[in-house]
Each structure stands twice: as structure tokens, then as C-alpha cells.
């Protein structure tokens, strides 16, 4: 399976140019964060990827097919920033409708599993009008997962969620990555992006100003500061291996004063690219 591929994407509204040539790849099993100031074009990019907007120039392919291809839509999940639907419908009825639209096998069974997964089994009988913002976000997440999508587009999925809800979304994203889904996460919450994304793209004035890898496929990059001020940078396979590396340095006679996971300073990059 190929992932999401964007080449030379340009989009303008009348005289206003919003996207000025975006190149982007999201591979299966990769979570890519999209951050940038308001008006940078994040929502426009997401809308183009979902086939809601038609690009003026450039090419978007998802698994080598056009973005608005119906079989591709069946494999795509989308969480909007604000979930809106007929407020009289119950959570269960809403999810059943979404499952039938997506032509899921055993829709009722899938709906019940998802309601349990997003902690809304108890509230499934309630109409959406009685749902809090956080509950709407969670049911929005559930409808996006209804067909076990290969491509997941999330627009501010943690907005309005309490800490439990944020952790739930984080777990779900990790599960989706593990399953092999290509995920694009649009978020203003830099800490959240840093925790869940493999790579982050900084969008500014219609262009990808910077791309930063947060997790390397080969392991976790760490920086060990020694007593004399020297910094040893290396990549370890997993968190347990960090202790092993520190022990090895101490046994060789070096004094270790600090061990940190080496990560990009998203705040700093955000400021410099905005």
C-alpha cells in the first residue's frame, strides 16, 4: 500500500493564494503532524486531501489513486474540528448511519465496539444534543474509525477534550499507527504533536517551511551530557537501552550528569517559521 502523496499543490480563492506549492508524503504506519499559525493553509490543505476543495495545480494521490476516488474514501477516516450532525439523532443511530454509508460489514457489531472504545457505550442512547463538546469529539473519532481506515485525517481531535479524552485519542492514534494507517494530525497543541507524531510539518504562508523528524525509524535519538560538558549523541533501539548506554559510559569512567531524549523544539521552530 502506498501512502498519501502530494506534489506541487496550489490553491487560491479569487485573488488570495492560500497554498503555494505543497509537496507532502505520508507513509503507511506514519503519523505526521501539521502545525502552523492561523491562516497558514492547514484547513485548506486538509480539505484538498479530502476532496472537499479542488486544487488549482498539482497532484494528490492516496494509494496511487485520486483523492476523491470512492474506494479510497471507503478507506479514509476524517475527524472535523467541530462535529455536527442532526442533533436529534442518538450517538448509536449516528454511528450506524455512518457505518452504513461506509458499507461496513456487520455495522451494528462494529458500532458497539467503537462506542465502547471511545467510552460512550453508556451515552449511546442519548441524542447528540445532550452530548458535551468532548463527547462530540469522541463520537467524531469513532465515526472516523468505523471502517478501520488506512488513511486518517484528524483536525484538532483533542480540542475540547478532558485529560482522559486526550489520553484516549493518543492511544487511538498509536493503535492506528501500529495497524499501519497513514495519519495526518492538524493541531495547535505542540506538546500533543510532539508526543504522538513521527514527523511534523510547519506550514507557513502556504508553504511547508520546515519538516522535522521526531521519531527515527531506527530508534530513539538521545543526548548524554558528561561531566566535562561534552555531549554524546546516539540512537538507541528502545527506552530500556538508554539505561544500558548510561551504564556503559559510567563503567568506562565518564561522569554522566544529564540524559535527555533529543527532540526538536517545536515552540522555537513554530516561532521562527511563523
Amino acid at each position: 500500500m502506498s501512502g498519501v502523496r502530494v506534489r506541487g499543490l496550489r490553491k487560491s480563492f479569487a485573488a488570495q493564494q492560500v497554498l503555494l506549492g505543497i509537496d507532502l508524503d505520508i507513509n503507511p504506519g506514519e503519523v505526521v503532524g501539521l502545525i502552523g499559525p492561523n491562516g497558514a493553509g492547514k484547513t485548506t490543505l486538509m480539505s484538498c486531501l479530502l476532496g472537499f476543495l479542488f486544487p488549482n495545480e498539482g497532484e494528490i494521490t492516496i494509494d496511487d489513486r485520486p483523492a476523491d476516488d470512492l474506494p479510497i474514501r471507503a478507506r479514509t477516516g476524517f475527524v472535523p474540528e467541530r462535529m455536527n450532525f442532526d442533533r436529534r439523532a442518538t450517538g448509536r443511530a449516528f454511528l450506524r448511519y455512518m457505518a452504513r454509508l461506509t458499507r461496513v460489514d456487520n455495522p451494528d457489531d462494529r458500532v458497539e465496539r467503537l462506542l465502547a472504545r471511545v467510552d460512550l457505550a453508556q451515552a449511546a442512547k442519548k441524542p447528540l444534543s445532550q452530548y458535551s463538546r468532548g463527547m462530540l469529539q469522541r463520537i467524531g473519532m469513532a465515526q472516523a474509525l468505523i471502517a478501520e481506515p488506512d488513511f486518517l485525517f484528524l483536525d484538532e481531535p483533542t480540542s475540547g477534550l478532558d485529560p482522559n479524552g486526550v489520553m484516549l485519542v493518543r492511544e487511538i492514534i498509536a493503535e492506528e499507527r501500529q495497524r499501519g494507517a497513514a495519519v495526518l494530525l492538524n493541531s495547535h497543541q505542540l506538546a500533543e504533536v510532539e508526543r504522538v507524531c513521527d514527523r511534523v510539518l510547519f506550514l507557513s504562508k502556504g508553504l511547508i517551511a520546515q519538516s522535522e523528524t521526531l521519531r527515527h525509524a531506527e530508534g530513539i535519538p538521545i543526548a548524554i551530557t558528561l561531566l566535562g560538558g561534552e555531549i554524546v549523541r546516539l540512537t538507541v533501539a528502545n527506552e530500556e537501552a538508554i539505561a544500558g548506554e548510561v551504564r556503559r559510559l559510567v563503567e568506562s569512567g565518564a561522569g554522566v550528569i544529564d540524559v535527555r531524549r533529543q527532540s526538536a523544539d517545536l515552540e522555537q521552530i513554530f516561532r521562527s517559521t511563523s
Binding site: 484547513t43 485548506t44 480539505s47 479530502l50 476532496g51 472537499f52 476543495l53 479542488f54 470512492l70 474506494p71 474514501r73 471507503a74 479514509t76 476524517f78 472535523p80 474540528e81 467541530r82 462535529m83 455536527n84 450532525f85 442532526d86 436529534r88 439523532a89 448511519y97 455512518m98 452504513r100 454509508l101 461506509t102 458499507r103 465515526q143 483536525d155
Partner: protein, 240 residues
């Protein structure tokens, strides 16, 4: 056509409290009309109005609320979605005609006014056929507008056509400088009348197959235009 969207559209209407209340009110009016031997056109006028209210909810409000984007992110063909929504609303309005028609007939039977046989079925049928065009126009206007602007455009078009017709009549009968021209060329007024008959058909009291065919084919053309527009419509979310 998407059966899922069609069923959801019908379900959403018939489970709406306001829909049920209106149905009861119209059925009561129909029963009263029938019992008193009054004209059926009285309660059918309410059905036409209710039909416009239901039809104005097609597409536009869904776009503004973001529901449309949620649905279009699923594997749903846009034309199929549009036609299914249309069919759902037509069925919801057909229920408004069918149920009160039964009450109307019941009222007439109850007081032994037996002139219901043909007329009582023709009038609701013709109103339903005329509604095919009304709903098609509301879908067409909804295919490129937001919120409830489709109903505003519907009434604006109707008003402009009626006002133009009125102005032409006034010019023809008056003594303006251009009056002789329009008296000599009645084809302008005839053409306008023809446009009005095509765009806003009035239900007749008899079975007229030519009229029925004209309305159905006009509605089909309008739906085709609506689907062409809607296929190319951009639906950015978070638009409103």
C-alpha cells in the same frame, strides 16, 4: 441513488416533532373540509407551504453546519447523495398529501357527500407532481448556496417572474410609449407565461397527462443541472 441517505432523510423528517404536528393539523383540516364539503385545495395549500419548509432544508443548511462534509468524506457519490435527499423530501411531502387525503375522503363518506371518487385522488396526485418541480428548484438553488438561501432564491425568482408578468400586462393595457410594441408582439408575454407555467406549475383539478409529463421532465432537467453544479461545488469545512 443511495438507499442509506434516502432512508435517513425520510427518518429525519418523520421523527421530527414539528413534522408530526403539522401532519396532524393538515389531516384535521382535511377531515373538516371533507365533512363540510369544502374544497380540498384549502388543505393542500398548507401541504405546498410545508413542502417548501421541508425542501429548504436540502443541502444548504447541511453545508453550513458541516454535516455535508462529514457525509461527503464517506464513499458517497455526490449525484447519488443529491438525488437521495431529493427523493427523501418528496416522500415526506407525499405522506403529507396521502394521509390527509384519506381523512378528506373519510369526512365526505361520513356525511354522505359522495362526489369524492375521482377528484379526491386527482388533486393530491397533481399537487404531488407539482411539488416534484418545487423540490427540484430548491435542490438546484441549494446546490450552490449556503444555509437557507435556496428558499430565498426560490421566492425571489417567483416574485421577479410575477412582477415582470404584472408589469407587461400594465404596459400592454396602458398608454406608454412602448405599449404599442408589446400589443403588436404578444409573444413576449406568452413566453413569460410559458416560463412561469414551466418553472412554477400549478396543480390542475383533472388528469392531464401532458401537464404531468411536462412537470416531471422539467424537474428532471433541473435535477440534472443541480447535480452538475453540485459535483463541482467546493465544500470547505469550517466555512460558516
Amino acid at each position: 441513488m443511495s438507499g442509506v441517505v434516502f432512508r435517513e432523510t425520510v427518518r429525519r423528517h418523520v421523527r421530527n416533532g414539528l413534522y408530526v404536528v403539522l401532519l396532524v393539523v393538515i389531516a384535521a383540516l382535511a377531515l373538516t373540509c371533507g365533512a363540510l364539503g369544502g374544497p380540498s385545495g384549502f388543505w393542500m395549500g398548507f401541504v405546498t407551504l410545508a413542502g417548501v419548509i421541508l425542501g429548504c432544508q436540502l443541502i444548504g443548511p447541511e453545508f453550513s453546519s458541516g454535516t455535508l462534509q462529514l457525509v461527503l468524506a464517506k464513499p458517497v457519490n455526490r449525484t447519488s447523495y443529491l438525488l437521495s435527499r431529493y427523493a427523501g423530501v418528496v416522500v415526506a411531502v407525499a405522506i403529507y398529501l396521502a394521509v390527509p387525503a384519506v381523512f378528506d375522503v373519510a369526512g365526505r363518506v361520513f356525511v354522505n357527500k359522495t362526489s369524492f371518487a375521482k377528484e379526491m385522488f386527482v388533486a393530491p396526485l397533481n399537487t404531488a407532481i407539482a411539488y416534484l418541480m418545487t423540490a427540484a428548484l430548491l435542490v438546484f438553488f441549494g446546490s450552490f448556496t449556503r444555509s437557507y438561501l435556496n428558499v430565498a432564491l426560490y421566492f425571489l425568482t417567483q416574485t421577479i417572474l410575477y412582477m415582470t408578468g404584472g408589469a407587461l400586462s400594465a404596459i400592454e393595457t396602458g398608454s406608454f410609449a412602448i405599449s404599442p410594441f408589446f400589443k403588436k408582439h404578444p409573444e413576449f408575454h406568452d413566453a413569460l407565461r410559458q416560463v412561469m407555467r414551466n418553472v412554477f406549475p400549478s396543480a390542475t383539478q383533472e388528469i392531464d397527462w401532458r401537464w404531468m409529463l411536462m412537470v416531471v421532465s422539467n424537474a428532471a432537467v433541473v435535477l440534472l443541472l443541480a447535480s452538475l453544479v453540485f459535483r463541482r461545488r467546493e465544500v470547505p469545512y469550517g466555512a460558516d
